[in-house]
Subunit: 229 residues, 2 copies
């Protein structure tokens, strides 16, 4: 197949878990484009495609190579304009950057606090050493110290979703009546948590839970191809 998406996995190649890779998977599925997913360990990524990128997702689409989930979404929108839109106009593309800013500064740190040791434990020995070294340098503490806040982070998690909950009073998706790339940005973060650390903590009768279930069902339920931990 001419379209390949490199993603991230631990020792179990059937459980790719990276939030950014899930954004790209959903974007490709949204466009109705077939692709072969190739999940890779962290330490194999710099060798892929002649050292094209240090990070995944990497999309190889015929002769084209694109790394970074947002860049992939923009590439797909531009190169496949006749397929369903991921942004629904320039305003939607611009504001998806704010959704990305919110997700990465408010949701990703919480998922990290909940799941960092579980991620470590999914990796092979070589990746574990790489993961520990890079994450401990970034966090300024050991993985075990970071994981000490996991229960607290889990309890506080539903409150972090308040902006989505408020938005859902007006419409069923960030994209309005149907999901757009902005939905997949937040979905990716919650899917990461679901695959690595089990069901996402929601409020009782939480409309955000309903929204997440709708996204698990979207695009031929590709999000359900990996079960919750």
């Amino acid at each position: 197949m001419a379209r390949i998406l490199y993603t991230l996995c631990g020792t179990d190649v059937t459980r790719p878990f990276s939030p950014h890779c899930w954004k790209a998977v959903m974007a490709l599925a949204h466009k109705g484009l077939e692709f072969e997913e190739r999940p890779m360990p962290f330490t194999a990524i710099p060798e892929l495609e002649e050292g094209f990128s240090k990070i995944v997702p990497i999309l190889c689409d015929g002769e084209e190579r694109v790394a970074d989930s947002f860049a992939i979404a923009r590439y797909l929108e531009e190169d496949y304009p006749d397929r369903p839109s991921l942004f629904m106009g320039p305003g939607g593309e611009a504001m998806a950057r704010f959704v990305e800013g919110w997700s990465q500064t408010q949701i990703h740190p919480a998922v990290t606090a909940i799941a960092i040791l579980k991620i470590h434990d999914m990796l092979d020995e070589k990746d574990q050493a790489y993961f520990r070294k890079t994450r401990e340098a970034a966090l300024g503490r050991t993985l075990e110290e970071a994981a000490a806040g996991a229960d607290e982070a889990r309890a506080a998690f539903p409150a972090r979703l308040q902006p989505i909950r408020h938005m859902l009073r007006a419409q069923p998706f960030l994209g309005g009546d149907a999901p757009l790339f902005a939905d997949y940005i937040v979905f990716g973060a919650l899917q990461w948590l679901r695959i690595v650390a089990g069901p996402v903590p929601f409020l009782p009768d939480d409309p955000v839970s309903d929204w997440f279930e709708r996204l698990l069902d979207a695009n031929d339920a590709i999000g359900r191809s990996v079960t919750a931990a």
Copy 2:
């Protein structure tokens, strides 16, 4: 003039301060539409326009009446399609609802904690009684109890702006290269704080401060028509 915008003020009619009303002011200015602003005390609002709405902003545009800032933005976008767009497409309109959700659940409570007693003190006696009664019922505590967290809320305020800071790495406005209604949603919250409680607390050399200054300059600097407290 046929176009009237009712907004909110305290005893000083020259210092309208409502975040929602500032969103509507910026939306009208963005569209290049002239209007007469009529700032009103809280307790006068239910009498306006034959009891049309319990809340401001209320826009009267010839025969049309619209209340609620988002509804006003949608009305302007639909009725003045040849003027500069407030949403840049349906994706931008939908995602502005998420920006609203973020602003109202993450920024408004912080502004309330910082400024609630200062707002009270700006009002006339009748409005003070109304404000105390409704806000204490909503908050479940006295205004003085709520204001006890003001210093802490002020110190924590710059961190609340982290999603904007992250987004500004990619582009100068939520709307992309130029401001859209989503920018005005967040601007309204910060302008409310600025008018009621003085300069917005930012980080040193904060790109969010630069963004806010750009919005104070936007639309013929209409945001600077009221000085910081």
